[in-house]
């Protein structure tokens, strides 16, 4: 009783210390005098959006920005699935005679997961120049980390009976994967891929902040030129698009599993 109590006090003391450290070190919250006014402007922008921006016959408008964002997300997800499937087999411990053979694969995936996509995008901009393609590559590479981990977990949790049966018929390793593994895990793979697509739509929306294409670019531009009605329509556009995509993808995922 006494020991648990002293442990509770210790835990509380640690938490208190973390908070003192955290808030003591932060600069005092000082806001621009215009903060209230700008907030009002953005809120009013949300209610009086710049409808003209939805479609402009010549160039950068909302629809094109959103389509760009969706295209980056779709292609990025596709790239990560293509890279992620073979990697998943390398990272699944039940695909090897010795468990630790899967460790290098697992480590690579955890590295990719931790490496922020936006930093990857910065690096790809150096390589292929600014634009949507850099965004596709960054999303593609970053998403491999999570997607392939989920894939490999579903391989690890799979029933191995069918694999054994295929091996017994004289099938080689690739044939065994094709006939015993893929049909079993395909629905789960597709479901994870759709889930990652939902996340990637959000990620693709921020890539524009650093010049990697999509709706982020006009949003940052509108913010810096204080075009609040345009900020309003872009935020609305993002909210509506993400909501629709989540609904469609959620429906498909429910049907799959």
């Amino acid at each position: 009783m006494n020991r648990t109590r002293s442990r509770t006090w210790l835990a509380l003391a640690v938490v208190a210390a973390v908070y003192v450290w955290a808030f003591y070190g932060l600069p005092a919250a000082s806001f621009k005098e215009t903060a209230g006014e700008v907030t009002g402007n953005i809120v009013s922008g949300l209610f009086h959006p710049d409808w003209d921006f939805v479609y402009l016959p010549d160039g950068e408008d909302l629809l094109r920005g959103l389509l760009d964002t969706l295209a980056i997300a779709a292609l990025g997800t596709f790239v990560s699935a293509v890279i992620g499937v073979p990697l998943a087999f390398l990272a699944a411990s039940n695909q090897f005679k010795r468990k630790w053979y899967s460790w290098p694969g697992k480590a690579a995936l955890s590295f990719l997961r931790t490496f922020p996509e936006i930093v990857m995008a910065l690096l790809f901009i150096v390589a292929v120049g600014p634009g949507a393609f850099a965004g596709v590559l960054a999303l593609g590479l970053h998403s491999v980390g999570m997607l392939s981990k989920l894939y490999s977990e579903s391989i690890e949790n799979m029933e191995t009976g069918a694999m054994e049966a295929l091996t017994a018929t004289g099938a080689n390793r690739i044939q065994t994967i094709r006939f015993a593994v893929i049909p079993q895990i395909l629905p789960e793979f597709l479901s994870y891929t759709l889930y990652r697509f939902e996340i990637n739509v959000r990620s693709a929306a921020i890539l524009g902040a650093i010049g990697a294409g999509g709706i982020g670019t006009p949003l940052i531009f509108a913010l810096s030129t204080r075009n609040w009605d345009r900020v309003g329509i872009i935020l609305l556009g993002i909210i509506v698009t993400v909501t629709i995509i989540d609904a469609i993808s959620g429906y498909l995922r429910k049907k799959l599993v």
Partner: protein, 263 residues
Amino acid sequence: MKTSTLPPIPKPPSRIKSYLTFALIVLLLWSSGVKTGADFLKLADGLPNIGRLLGEMVPPDWSYFSKITDAMWETIRMAVAGTTFGAALAIPIALLSARNVARSPFLYYPARFILNLVRTVPDLLLAAVFVAIFGIGPWAGIFALTLFSFGLIAKLTYESVEAIDPGPLEAMTAVGANKLQWIHFGVVPQVTGPFVSYFLYTFEVNVRAAAVLGLVGAGGIGLFYERTLGLLKYDKTSSIILFTLAVVLIIDFITVKVREKWL
């Protein structure tokens, strides 16, 4: 004898649906490729660039670590503050969103609507908006993380609240508790564990997020990416990346240990 009366071989089911789905996906990907100007030849051309870039990133500029430690501490402070504020805001809305607590669809549908709305806007864009409102600095980032954590924690928590054992709730109703007593004694003890777990998980996510918020001027270490990349000091960029990776891994390790031990 019976071979003469074997039933006919059944007809294979139509595969039109599968072919159409396949065609649709190919079409979507192809048009996405056109739209984004995807060009894998360009990537192949760019590979030497990437190689040169990676070459210049090694070895990292170790001396740069001392320059960015303050920014790194600020990043963690932002994550602590944002997660805490977000969690505090999440408690009431999570209770309002839970069917078994709020009872009335007039309460839980609007509450969930707000949650879903908040969760659609990605954190970095929230940060950009808050920078426009409050000016450059960590507080814009903290508010963005607050809103983001609020959405995430509230959603996870209300799902846990809906899954709790109804027995203690009935017992509280039976002894005539008022609504606050009912929540305090019936709901809170059952969801404290998951709530703290979601808090720590969101904190992990927020440390990663806070590390890039600086790109839009919302404080933390992210600011230094543009500074070093703009000056083509790639060895310094790799110091930032390594430092961030190390901090993220250490924090993940600690939170995982805490969750294993105490929850």
